[in-house]
């Protein structure tokens, strides 16, 4: 059961091959057995999951079940869930139980899906390795000495290890695509504004976007069908109809023009990753696509731009964690300033503090023009690069990350860590959709192929990704998590 895709489980439920209770019980058992080593979950909601599973089974028996009813999911612990702890991977919110659901959670619950729990993550979604969680690092199911990628590493690892068929993540600078690549699964970051951010704890509001992590592009399409759409509670969500993302999955690729940004194949790219990506492109050529060299000239500015804008927004978004109304409060504060200082000093981890300080600095009087305003100008140039490229090609392709998963604890230098996002970060600055699909291995370490499309072209993006998965079996490879020590 744990090897099945979301679509396969849903079809089996519809055909009466198994019940939601069967699936849920099997996966909860598996979480109990395997997750202590993986640490991919922060909270497992077993009782609620079983109740929801039974409710889904009853609805199905009455003939009232939708296509996803009874399918188990897990949510990155950044999505607020009513009555369940939402920690955001931080000590600051260790005791926080939201009295509301994020909009996407509401939508998925209404579709009858079953939540197994909340997955581990880098604190407040800041990180590229999932080593910044208050609840400890997540292990890569392919090799427990490796990171799963961040910041949606818990979601990626849980899916890769077969603990859940699909999970939600968020992607601010690559946090869905990079862990999907490291864990050998499929992760989709939709267009900014396509999926409501309401109830998703904010890191950098103008970059954050929620999306699915699953085994296949098809599964991502099924989930996006439910998640996408305008939300009156999110002013930046786009009022635009939602297509059926599954309807174009099987369209032929004839005449597809693929752009290869030369900046994505330069210095710093691991040779093994490069070779896997070149092989993947050849698969597309064999399916009738043509390949064109393109340039995204401002690519090298993406990381510095991101590390001005994201921390600036974060420093403001995280101001509310002050120990006054909810979350962590220090013991016996002596003065108001003492309350603020100690609550925040104790509640936040190192990386979060680092980014708050950077953001506070760049927004300060005297630095704003040199940093924030300049970064917004560069951001427009980066976005224009993509718009120009999409004049010539239908999609862009390249690696999701410069290397495969690296060893836990290896990258101590934060700037070195920031370079992990070199191929993903510009996509968030531009607001376009991107997907990472399994495309080979370097040794036993998975490699992700990143595919990018113009704004709101998710249906085409999923079509292109699905075609690759029809032609290859990389997405069907599974880590041997049942052996006591994989690798």
């Amino acid at each position: 059961m744990h090897d099945k895709t979301l679509a396969e489980l849903a079809r089996g439920l519809a055909a009466g091959q198994w019940s939601s209770r069967d699936i849920t019980t099997a996966l909860l058992d598996r979480i109990e057995r395997l997750d202590p080593a993986l640490n991919s979950f922060i909270t497992v909601t077993g009782d609620q999951a079983l109740q929801d599973a039974e409710a889904a089974d009853e609805a199905r028996a009455r003939g009232q079940a939708g296509i996803l009813a009874g399918v188990p999911l897990a949510y990155k612990d950044i999505f607020c869930t009513e009555g369940v702890r939402t920690s955001c991977g931080s000590r600051m919110l260790d005791n926080f139980i939201a009295p509301y659901n994020a909009t996407v959670i509401d939508k998925l619950r209404q579709a009858g899906t079953v939540s197994l729990g909340k997955t581990n993550m880098d604190e407040f979604a800041m990180g590229s390795s999932n080593e910044n969680s208050h609840y400890g690092p997540v292990k890569n199911p392919w090799d427990h000495s490796l990171v799963p990628g961040g910041s949606s590493g818990g979601s990626a690892a849980a899916v890769a290890a077969g603990l859940v068929p699909a999970a939600l993540g968020t992607d601010t600078g690559g946090s869905i695509r990079q862990p999907a690549a490291f864990c050998g699964i499929t992760g989709l970051k939709p267009t900014y504004g396509r999926v409501s951010r309401y109830g998703m704890v904010a890191y950098a509001s103008s970059l954050d976007q929620g999306g699915p992590l699953a085994r296949t592009a098809e599964d991502c399409a099924w989930l996006l069908n439910v998640m996408a759409g305008h939300d009156a509670r999110d002013s930046t969500s786009v009022s635009r109809s939602v297509p059926d993302y599954t309807s174009e999955l099987d369209k032929p690729l004839d005449g597809l023009r693929i752009g290869l940004p030369r900046e994505y194949f330069g210095e710093g790219l691991d040779e093994g990753v490069a070779s896997a990506i070149r092989d993947a492109i050849r698969v597309y050529e064999s399916l009738g696509a043509s390949v064109i060299d393109v340039s995204l000239p401002h690519t090298e500015l993406a990381i510095p731009t991101y590390y001005v804008i994201a921390p600036a927004e974060a420093s403001s978004n995280l101001s509310r964690y002050d120990g006054v109304r909810f979350g962590h409060r220090c013991e016996n504060p002596e003065t108001l300033e003492d309350l603020y200082k100690r609550s925040r000093a104790e509640g936040f981890g190192e990386e979060v503090k680092r980014r708050i300080l950077i953001g506070t600095h760049t927004l300060s009087e005297g630095f704003f023009d040199a940093y924030y305003r300049k970064a917004q100008q560069v951001r427009r140039l980066i976005r224009q690069d993509f718009l120009d490229a999409f004049q010539q090609v239908d999609v862009l392709m390249g690696p999701a990350a410069p290397t495969p998963a690296f060893p836990l604890g290896e990258t101590a230098d934060p700037v070195q860590m920031y370079l992990q996002d070199i191929y993903t970060i510009a996509i968030n600055l531009a607001g376009i959709p991107g997907i990472s699909v399994p495309a080979g291995f370097v040794g036993h370490r998975p490699v992700g192929l990143q595919i990018l499309a113009p704004h709101f072209a998710e249906a085409h993006l999923l079509n292109v990704a699905h075609a690759f998965q029809q032609a290859t079996d990389w997405h069907q490879r599974r880590p041997d998590v049942d052996s006591p020590d994989p690798r």
Binding site: A102, Y198, A202, A204, S205, S235, S316, S319, R320, R325
Partner: protein, 489 residues
Amino acid sequence: MRSHDMQWEAVIGLEVHVQLATQSKIFSGASTAFGADPNSQACAVDLGMPGVLPVLNENAVAMAVRFGLAINAEIPEYSVFERKNYFYPDLPKGYQTSQMAHPIIGRGEVEITHGEGHSKLVRIHHAHLEEDAGKSLHEDYHGMTGIDLNRAGTPLLEIVSEPDMSSAAEASAYLKALHAIVTYLGISDGNMAEGSMRCDVNVSLRPAGSKTLGTRAEIKNVNSFRFVEQAIAFEIERQTDILEDGGQIIQETRLFDPDQGETRSMRLKEEANDYRYFPCPDLLPLMLDSAYVDHQRTLLPELPTEKRHRFITELGLSAYDAGVLVATRPLAEYFEQVHAVCGNAKLAANWVQGDLMGRLNHDNLSVRESPVSATQLGELLLRLEDNTINGKGAKQIFADLWERRGESADELIEARGLRQVTDSGAIESMVDEVIANSPIQVTQYREAPEDKRGKMIGYFVGQVMKLSKGTANPQQVNALLKEKLDALL
């Protein structure tokens, strides 16, 4: 007048916060009603809970635009909400959503009038939308502080003037003019006691005739017309004393203490926060096209300045009367309704300003709470106009209406038998009766010198009015008495 009043000139600018009368908050659906239990009107958005997002209240935008139109301001097509970052326990998100670089309302102007026909244009620098913070409660918590977030997220329009005022009276007149505009527009209840309108006052002095601005002090959160006058008067005095003594004004924020009638230093400019303004990424820039603005223009009522001009030119009222009557929209509307019913503008103006406002002030009621409706008063004045009753009777009927002894003037006139007697035969027989019954007074009248007789006739008039129970037409009584008494000479 002290000698230095001739040497120093005050330069005054106001930042006025007007609470907009929306049903819900500027970025959430929570109610804005005043006086509810602490924290009963604060939703997850107002509490700054993780993950929640603001959604702009369109009504607040419409109200701001209507204000802009009322002051002939530029309405930019594009405005931006920014975050003003600082830490305070009653500021839930750690930032206040406000507008800085691109406010919703650009330059405009407000006409003020005060004293004997002084009028002047005060330029408005801009007006912007922002959310209010909550309230810290320091009493009743045994040395701790409670936070009430009911007010958090309440929409405010901050109206920033140019430093165009030069006296406390002008500043107060400006504040009154703004109060009239926002209440006419119905975009604020203007209730200063409940904090619906409060202002920060900037005061500086400069040598008379100089063009350069002096160092200013900012007085925070003054919440009545009177306090504004007092605070400015105190501040001018204080700064004058310092400058006269050869000292220098320091730039600082001060608080006005109404009990002592003085301002006190709160903090120096050096301690000021760096607010780190930046565009709020949760709210898209606000785009207002001309069709929208034109539509808002159609919703504007007649404004106080226009109304005052019309009262003078069309109704023939004095500038003073017109000024009093347009001070608030309810009063102006009350007057207009009285006038519409009775048809005599001066009579209506006299009664509204005299009897009505006198009783309202005496009973501490607003015009909206008046026990006598405008229609009732208008009908009463109509009867005065057509001589159905006399002035004395009208005052009695007004008192009855006030005490709710009847529904209409006509009903009360009948019930009290106050219908004025204008039948000359009836009046003549009453006059004859009084003359016949007053032989002593008649003799006195006849013997009195001519210039005293006019006064003496009053006695006879009083007797006839008494006999008629006040219903006889006094002019007729007067004329007839004079005729009959003079015939006896």
